[in-house]
Amino acid sequence: MWVTESPLMLDPLLRETEDVSSGALVIFVGTVRDENDNRSVGGMTYEAHVSLAEKVLHEIEQEVLARFEVRRCRIQHRIGRLELGEPSVQIVVRGGHRAAAYEASRYAIDELKRRAPIWKEEHYTDGASRYLDGTPLQPGGDSA
């Protein structure tokens, strides 16, 4: 499961990726923050092209395992309405050593932001809402 309307939970993903041959675990979690571009934010709605997003996140996991010296990679993204502080994305990487695990984790979140068909609409505390400008999708996935 890569895209879900349910709140993201870290513990199940940590159990799923358990590996005694990995000495380094790097976790990235994106959370809804209370401010953006100097505007006070009260919440966020995430929308995805779910079937393509699941495919893209799975592809990124496979690329991470192929390109870096790591042994586990899992990526999950939340959709729907999120309150302040709630996690929107979580990425778990485990590997033998920390340098590769950090690099792999950064690669995963950078590629997700570039390639996953997901959109966020910010809800401001003054009642307004706005879809954020983003990155145009390129054909061809990781070769783009």
Binding site: G30, Y46, E47, A48, H49, S51, L52, A53, K55, H77, S88, V89, I109, L112, K113, R114, R115, A116, P117, I118, W119, K120, E121, Y131, L132, D133, G134, T135, P136, L137, Q138, P139, G140
Partner: protein, 82 residues
């Protein structure tokens, strides 16, 4: 023929609906031609169509991809996940 068009992100606000079914008076339509149709029917989309991607069957398709009756084409604006 009929093409189901699904708008994502801010595009669905511009169009006023997430899904629109278009009646097309021909048997095949390239994605490039679909863009022309959208430009004509939804002038509000005009400034945004240069940065969208078109997705059919979970693949990003090029302008020469041919749509057939009953196909669904998703129109994806620039992404902002994470």
């Amino acid at each position: 023929m009929q093409i189901r068009v699904v708008f994502y992100g801010g595009l669905k606000q511009d169009v006023g609906a997430k899904i629109q079914t278009l009646d097309i008076p021909q048997a095949g339509l390239t994605v490039g031609e679909l863009a022309d149709v959208l430009r004509e029917r939804y002038p509000v989309l005009q400034p945004r169509l240069s940065t969208v991607a078109y997705v059919v069957n979970d693949e990003i398709v090029s302008p020469d991809y041919v749509l057939h009756d009953g196909d669904e084409a998703a129109v994806l604006p620039p992404v902002s996940g994470g």
